[in-house]
């Protein structure tokens, strides 16, 4: 149900419409506000609001975006009625028990052990800084953090760095960030975006029509409660990736055969390393040395693979974006329509050193991973739904007792992954989890007008 009502680019933060691929260097500063210096913090926010990059036009040298947690909004002095107008998932916070239950963030992923976002290192403000060179980035960090500290807004933990690698791959070696939804009103003629990726603006920006045809809910910000519009929610999860652990597991399950190893890993992901989907190339990667500048095709569905013989039902890509193939739907079109209500705009980047040989543990598995960031207008209906109903659902589709083979919360002992085959399926037993959650939070990414308003002096504080 795409629509073409125009969005207010001047008022929307740039990261909503751009992944800033022209700015490969990134730093995420996680800050806390000194509650006793609420007025100072507001003054600081009001000042930097003018430097925040909007979605109006590309900024060449660097870009800056700002988001706040619920506690951040509290410390800035928002009154209770305004705070109550935010959705419960956001006010609970990712580290809360209720959200952890929905997200299956248990045991190893428990927020008590997080390096940030949990009770030990709570976070109020997120500054996302992007630059074309490391020098530009360092200069931006120094200016921003110096100014913040002078206003009682200090680092909860040292800033996290990330980057876009030249090959655009994540650490396990797979092309990443494909199948990105595109806002209906942000389309350009002949942009090559497949229809399935065009989603109503209201799914990613508050105040516009969403995929149900209704206006997405906005919090009551500003004097006339209208400044919630053009904001959105941002989900940040830092995960480490045990690359050698993953590849050695796959290697063993593939009887140490290099070709079978590549195939099994691709079956788990749903795409070959190049990003080419399995349903378009079931037997081998047709493009082993892809050009990083050209995105692999994303115009495909699962209708031609009803038995999962090309791409397993439980593969990461088929679970996290089932396209036309939701087994609980009555038709491909209905499936597409339903899936459109659970899409995520992904803006994350990898961090840490590349591994030299994926089969040899270099002792740095704790230092590399993904800063997963996604944007959505409804945390519950989009991000949490995908996690709970698709990724971590042991009975997704017609499967029994298995979760996402790549990022799912595997339960020790009985976790399996089914590869549909002829004449009969093969099950990989004793699946293990090779990604670990190290930190995370739910943020509100305000409109630029809302940032200015949040930064104005308030009579009550």
């Amino acid at each position: 149900m795409a629509n073409t009502e125009k969005i207010e680019r001047d008022d929307i933060q740039g990261i909503v419409l751009s992944g800033y691929v022209h700015l490969p260097k990134t730093a995420y500063a996680l800050l806390t506000v000194d509650a006793a210096r609420s007025a100072d913090a507001r003054a600081w926010l009001g000042r930097i609001a003018g430097s925040v990059t909007s979605a109006r036009k590309k900024q060449e040298g660097d870009s800056l975006n700002v988001a706040l947690t619920y506690t951040g909004l509290q410390k800035l002095g928002l009154d209770d009625a305004t705070l109550a107008s935010f959705p419960i998932a956001f006010s609970d916070g990712m580290a809360s028990q209720r959200r952890a239950y929905i997200l299956t963030d248990n045991e190893l992923d428990a927020s008590s052990a997080w390096s940030w976002g949990g009770p030990a290192h709570p976070v109020d403000v997120l500054l996302m800084m992007f630059a074309v060179t490391p020098e530009r980035l360092d200069a931006l960090i120094a200016t921003m953090l110096g100014d913040a500290a002078a206003h009682g807004v200090t680092e909860a933990v040292p800033a996290l760095h990330a980057q876009l690698y030249d090959d655009r791959n994540e650490h396990f070696g797979f092309s990443d960030g494909i199948a990105q939804p595109v806002l209906a009103s942000a389309r350009k003629p002949n942009d090559g975006v497949s229809e399935g990726n065009v989603v109503s603006d209201g799914e990613f920006v508050l105040g516009y029509r969403n995929e149900y045809g209704f206006g997405s809910d906005t919090p009551d910000l500003g004097p006339d409660k209208s400044l919630g519009k053009n904001g959105t929610y941002l989900v940040f999860r830092q995960t480490t990736q045990d690359v050698a652990g993953f590849w050695n597991f796959v290697n063993a399950a593939a009887a140490h055969d290099p070709a079978q190893r590549e195939t099994l890993a691709a079956k788990m992901v749903g795409r070959w390393k190049s990003g080419v989907p399995l349903v378009l190339a079931p037997d081998a990667d047709p493009d082993p040395n892809p050009d990083p500048a050209t995105a692999p095709t994303d115009a495909f569905g699962y209708g031609g693979d009803p038995k999962g013989l090309a791409c397993p039902f439980g593969a990461h890509a088929r679970r996290s974006n089932p396209r036309d193939g939701l087994l609980t739907s009555t038709s491909p079109a209905e499936s597409m329509q339903r899936v459109a209500r659970h899409r995520l705009l992904r803006r994350g980047r990898s961090y840490g050193p590349r591994i030299a040989d994926p089969l040899v543990d270099d002792g740095k598995s704790g230092e590399r991973g993904l800063h997963f960031i996604c944007l959505c207008a409804d945390i519950e209906r989009q991000f949490e739904f995908v996690q709970q109903t698709w990724i971590n659902n042991p009975v997704f589709g017609q499967l029994v007792g298995e979760v996402d083979p790549l990022v799912g919360a595997q339960t020790a002992g009985d976790a399996v992954f089914t590869v549909q085959r002829e004449p009969v399926r093969r099950r990989v037993l004793d699946m293990k989890c090779f990604v670990t959650l190290r930190g995370g939070a739910y943020f509100f990414l305000p409109s630029i007008k809302a940032l200015r308003w949040l930064g104005t002096p308030r009579t009550n504080g």
Partner: protein, 421 residues
Amino acid sequence: MHSIFTFQTKIDPAKVGALTAYLDQIHAQLLTHPELPFPLLTKVHFASLVIVPDDRYGAYLVFENNIDGTVDAYIEQLCDVAPAALHTIYSNCAGYDASGGFDRGRMRTYLRAHVVRPGASFVGNVGRDVARIHAEHALRTEIEQYLDGRSAAGALGTTPAAIYAQVRAHVETMFPWALQPQGRLSAAEMFKRKLAVWELIAFALLTLPLLIPLVLLFIIVLRIHELRDRSEIPPPDSKQMAIVTAREDNILQNHFASMVDVKPGAFRRFTLSLVLFLANRAAAVSVNGTLSNLNNIHFAHWVLIDGGRRMLFLTNYDGSWENYLDDFIDKASVGLTAIWSNTKLRGPLLNFPTTSFLVNGGARDERNFKNIARESQLLSNVWYSAYRDITVPRVDMNSTIRDGLATPPDGPAIGDWLQRL
């Protein structure tokens, strides 16, 4: 055959706290409580005990039962398995004579007197009792493990026919019953249910000349009501959310209990009764686990209570609450809206999201619909599922796998059967 019903009793206002505490205790030891050991109630598919707080009608205890067999046989099993629990629970309720401890005859009479049958109900997997659901799931698990073992040993057949023969030979001794065909619903029963729908259609056709003016009149009156209704539903507050989510997402299935007011006036009461009557007939002809293409509902029912002034809805479903509601909106918003548009919550504007012509609008207003659904939700004090990790489609798929053993497929159908594993 299944029976779906509740025992509804008024709670002594002074004893709501005591009853709540006792139910909390049962909840904490759901599978092992010495006085109410649910797994020994072998007829139960799903059961719940819900305290409906006092809202103008006094506090109620709703004891929901979705069971195999008759109500009477179930009451006997309850008295066998959980006499002390029944006695303790109903000692807190009106009309129960607690003097002299548990008395089987008295309990039987009391329970029978408080049976409330649904106005409309739905069963996801018809014709299968609890024992069969467990047995067919165990069969499927055994086959999967057998295949894993053969495969690891390099001893799996290479053709579909060879693998099928291996599997069948393996289960033959372990599960001899699996080789006997067993249907889902008898042809006679299905005929009876379809006949009930055809009766309605025939009735409508025969009375058409009379019916048309009545329908037109109905539509006019309906539109007047709809245009008058306004709706403004704030998000449920944190307190209500904490109450209703406290016992949610505990397993792969969930329970949703809700109580709403029927909008005032005879017209809404009549419309709702009519819709429930029609929904009940339509739901009965579904045999493969789908209600209006929803395939995640095990048992659900609607019932008008308090002289038609309130409607109670109880459902036992697979997956998360968000998914359940999204599914509802996507696939069943017509039926859903036809039922709930006749309802409201306490408060002048707490109407179901506005509708036109009974079935348009309403539930499609996703955010407001979810808000009112949450607002109407009751805490499920105790909720029990006899098969916590078996979904509606899985129950049916397990039966299909068993069908393929009882009636051997041939040719390409053997390959299709293997793909179900």
